[in-house]
Amino acid sequence: MYVAVKGGETAIAHSLDLVADKRRGDRDVPELSLDQIDQQLGLAVDRVMTEGSCYDRTLAALAIKQARGDLIEAIFLLRAYRTTLPRFGASEPLDTTRMVAERRISSTFKDVPGGQVLGPTYDYTHRLLDFSLAAAGERAEAPIAPADATHALPRVGDILQRDGLLEPPPSRNHGEARDLTRDPLVLPASRPLRLQNLARGDEGFLLALGYSTQRGYGNNHPFVGEIRYGHVPVSFVPEELGFAIEIGEIDVTECDMVNQFAGSHDVPPQFTRGYGLAFGHAERKAMAMALVDRALRAEELGEAVTSPAQDEEFVLAHSDNVEASGFVQHLKLPHYVDFQSELVVVRALRAEVEKRLEQAALAQAAE
């Protein structure tokens, strides 16, 4: 139990000044601008927007600067900011088939319609430090090749689905999705609610859980049906207009994972799916999310629930790094009263034990 304390105002104020000083660092080094963070640390911005659950590159860059690069602290700052804003409503669901893709790959079909487009990826780098980056200098622009930007990219899922080899996703006709930030999470949760939880969830936590399924703790034999990253328009129906308009474009990464399913008494064997969606370019997150989404469907698909990644309560209750970090870090706050009472108890118990041992020793000596 935490009991409030008073005092320490001056020390706290000075600590904040010291944080600001450390944030600025050596004054001989130029200060970072938000544009620099946005443009040159873009993947950090993407992670903060995804787990902060708020798409705004400039705000995420500001949060990263304020948090001195501590991304979980930055996510906390962005989450706190969003609570100060009114909600205008919910968008129309994104149509990622219309994505202007920078990258689209499938590891299930070599000759996927639309082609394998690597885009900007670290997948085929050698992970050798590039010392040329240590020096400033002009960098060449990326090469181009003829392309058709207006062409919609066919979905790998649709190809498999046509033959009945892949389960179709849950029906579109669900109206507006329920929202975790509005209604408390009740278990068992629907798949849309689970996905919202995972979308906000900590990348590291989901990565470890996804990895655990691959190592056998709830294995579901995954293949990357498709990963795509690029720009999609967001449609919204303003109440004053009554018709949908596009209010902007955002970058998203999606992963449609294809998994084995042995079939059941009623359903012939077919592939099942897990889905991941993240703001910006965040493939590791989208893949981990898709693995965990699929693992959490164990009960629905009649699989034994034996592992942490399949345990809905365990996963959904511990995925949020703002909550987790808050509860772990609150241990640093003064717990003096709490600890004092435990001290009293432990001293009393020790005294009792010592007395008993003394008496036993006396009795032994008397014999």
């Binding site: 804003l85 919910a90 082609g115 990326a142 930030t181 609610l193 996905l195 209010i247």
Partner: protein, 152 residues
């Protein structure tokens, strides 16, 4: 009632204007010269829109996360109302979109705005998308599966 462009036309304008870079829209609006005064009905207001995704891209919707959005509303002296909704927190962007939405409902401004602002922005957006697609296309790959030869 002033004659108003069809909903389809208004939808197209509002979408192109919202997706344009705010600074670029502001400079085109500035270059237009004198425009009729308008009353700001709703000062630019920053809020959130919950972005929905679909399971596996095509299935049931779910809440993917929010985005910041700025909205504004204006009214011309002649009565037309205009609304601006734009991603992000650029107040000027939202207000200019609202002003153009209102002004575009006036027949004498319609073509001028289309030619001076909407069409150029649409072309620029296409060019941006073409560049993205062209850079991506340069990374298109043909993987070869290395199959065992017969008898090997």
């Amino acid at each position: 009632m002033p004659s108003s462009p069809s909903i389809e036309r208004r939808r197209r304008w509002l979408s192109i204007l919202a997706k344009a870079p705010g600074a670029r829209l502001a400079s085109l609006w500035q270059a237009l010269g004198p425009t009729p005064a308008y009353l700001v009905l709703r000062r630019p207001e920053i809020g959130l829109v919950m972005v929905q995704g679909r399971i596996s891209g095509t299935g049931a919707p779910f809440c993917a996360g929010e985005m910041t959005v700025t909205r504004a509303a204006v009214r011309l002296d002649s009565g037309e109302m205009g609304f601006g909704y734009v991603r992000g927190r650029d107040a000027r962007h939202a207000e200019i979109v609202a002003a153009i939405d209102a002004l575009g409902q006036r027949p004498e401004w319609d073509e001028k705005l289309e030619a001076a602002i909407v069409t150029p922005l649409a072309h620029e957006a296409e060019a941006r998308h073409r560049l993205i697609a062209a850079r991506a296309a340069a990374t298109r790959v043909d993987f070869f599966t290395v199959a065992r030869e017969a008898g090997a």
